[in-house]
């Protein structure tokens, strides 16, 4: 009984805060999705029109899937780029490990907005990449493809997320008992076989965590598309932001937000229910 009251006393303040400012807003948003009017001011109307409109407008859905696809691409490429960094730090860096780790994390301490903006300078038609390409004669006139495109969004967000994706992969690699790798060699594995059969499966939790680290924030992105994406690189997050900040159709925006949440939850569900991923990788 004593424990019960201590537990309750400790847990109540954070629980109440989370309820009021996290769960309640999500609930209110759900209620709003059934309302009408630009800011949902009509309290007494219950309508499914917003859902109908969302389902009937295939461009909304297409943008959602395309954004999910972009986020997926960003996450996968980030993992592919980050894994060798994490591997090098965990297994090869030796005494330089913490210095290299700091070196890779430091850029993330710069303002997020400015890091993205810097890519606008890098990719822009008067930017660094174009200048290099022009001066080396690889291209003859400034290429506009580099900026205001979906590729620009992907490149910029990969830049932003590689260090964060690297962290969970690194910590799962660090946790692998080095004896297991010796055991694999002892039982006849060449080094690539040890990697495929032991290191990679055991680092999968870190890879999955890294995937979510990148996937969830990029799915909700609206700033990067605004800065470097242009009309071509617009994402689903921009659609939601427009509904709230410009079009002022909050109920519609709520439906769109819930659709995005559904995508996130379905993906989480799939990735955690597929069973231990490591087992799937067993040949």
């Amino acid at each position: 009984m004593e424990n019960r009251s201590r537990f309750t006393t400790l847990i109540m303040p954070p629980a109440i805060y989370l309820f009021l400012l996290f769960l309640l807003p999500l609930g209110v948003m759900l209620v709003f999705s059934f309302r009408a009017g630009t800011t949902g001011a009509a309290h007494n109307i219950f309508t499914l029109n917003n859902y109908r409109a969302f389902l009937e407008n295939s461009s909304f859905q297409r943008l959602l899937w395309r954004s999910a696809g972009i986020s997926f691409t960003i996450s996968i490429i980030s993992i592919i780029l980050a894994y060798p960094i994490a591997y090098y730090l965990a297994f090869r860096a030796g005494v330089n490990k913490s210095i290299l780790m700091t070196l890779i994390i430091v850029p993330t301490w710069t303002s997020y907005l400015l890091r993205i903006f810097a890519w606008k300078l890098m990719l822009g038609s008067t930017g660094v990449l174009n200048s290099i390409l022009l001066s080396t004669g690889i291209i003859e006139q400034a290429s506009p493809i580099l900026i205001y495109s979906r590729t620009a969004v992907v490149v910029t967000l990969i830049y932003v997320w590689v260090p964060f994706v690297m962290l969970p992969i690194f910590s799962s690699l660090e946790r692998i008992d080095r004896n297991l790798l010796e055991a694999a060699a002892d039982l006849g594995c060449a080094s690539w076989e040890s990697f495929l059969r032991v290191t990679l499966p055991l680092s999968m939790p870190g890879v999955v965590a890294g995937f979510f680290f990148a996937f969830i924030p990029t799915l909700g992105e609206f700033v990067t598309p605004l800065l470097v994406g242009g009309a071509q690189g617009s994402m689903y997050g921009n659609l939601i932001q427009d509904q709230f900040m410009r079009a002022l159709n909050w109920p519609m925006g709520s439906v769109m937000s819930l659709a995005m949440l559904a995508v996130v939850f379905i993906l989480m569900f799939l990735l955690t229910r597929l069973g231990p991923l490591s087992e799937l990788l067993e040949l």
Partner: protein, 265 residues
Amino acid sequence: MSKIKLPSIGAIYIFLICAVLYAPIILLIIFSFNNGTSLVFPLKGFTLQWYQKLGENAEMLSAVQNSFLIGFGSSLLATILGTMGAIAIARFNLPGRGLFLAVSTMPLVIPYVILGVSLLILFKEVGIPLSAFSAGLAHVIISIPYAMLIVSSRLVGFPNNLEEAAMDLGASYWEALLRVTLPIISPALLAAFLLCFTMSFDEFAIASFLVGTDTTLPVYMYSQLRFPTRLPMVIAMAAIIMTLTMSSMLISEWLRRSGQPPTRK
């Protein structure tokens, strides 16, 4: 294994990654010293004018002040709430623990844009005016999971029989927490606070929905990105903040390391 000192493929790869990671930042810093308003090459000569003009920009200074206040307040509250939650889940296995754990870590997997708009709806509905303060309330939500994770990983690192020892010596449970547990986990509390502060200080997406007519530094910066002539000054400000962040992070990292014996690996 080999004694030959050729850089390995791995080392070359790390070098390239670092080059790419730093290039955009170095580019920004170069432009903050460039004597020209447009951010294009060729450079127009060295100047400190953008740094000197910072002090005259009242709007920017008030944005910085707002960001500090929000960052400080939200991190303090998130650290307190996160610590309470962390102690509850690390020390008790009672009904409600699982539910609390699920809810408190959920903000980690929800895109910020959704957190922002849902709070926007709530504040409008309840009649809370939008301000820097309301943005701060939202920052507590995204900070709680991080604070909890940092503190609870520290709590599982030491046995709870220290609390029992304190109680055996006559302390009440709450005295034991205050006099034994909290001092032991104080480095984790500081680390949690610093991380939450850094996140809040740099957060744009949620704040952009909730600040109303107030500005935070990221919100101000975003508004200035459309006016190229003001950019060098924004970049100068960011360079100063980056330098401060880096030195404080490096100092705290150094303090953390020097506080413990060197690890042998």
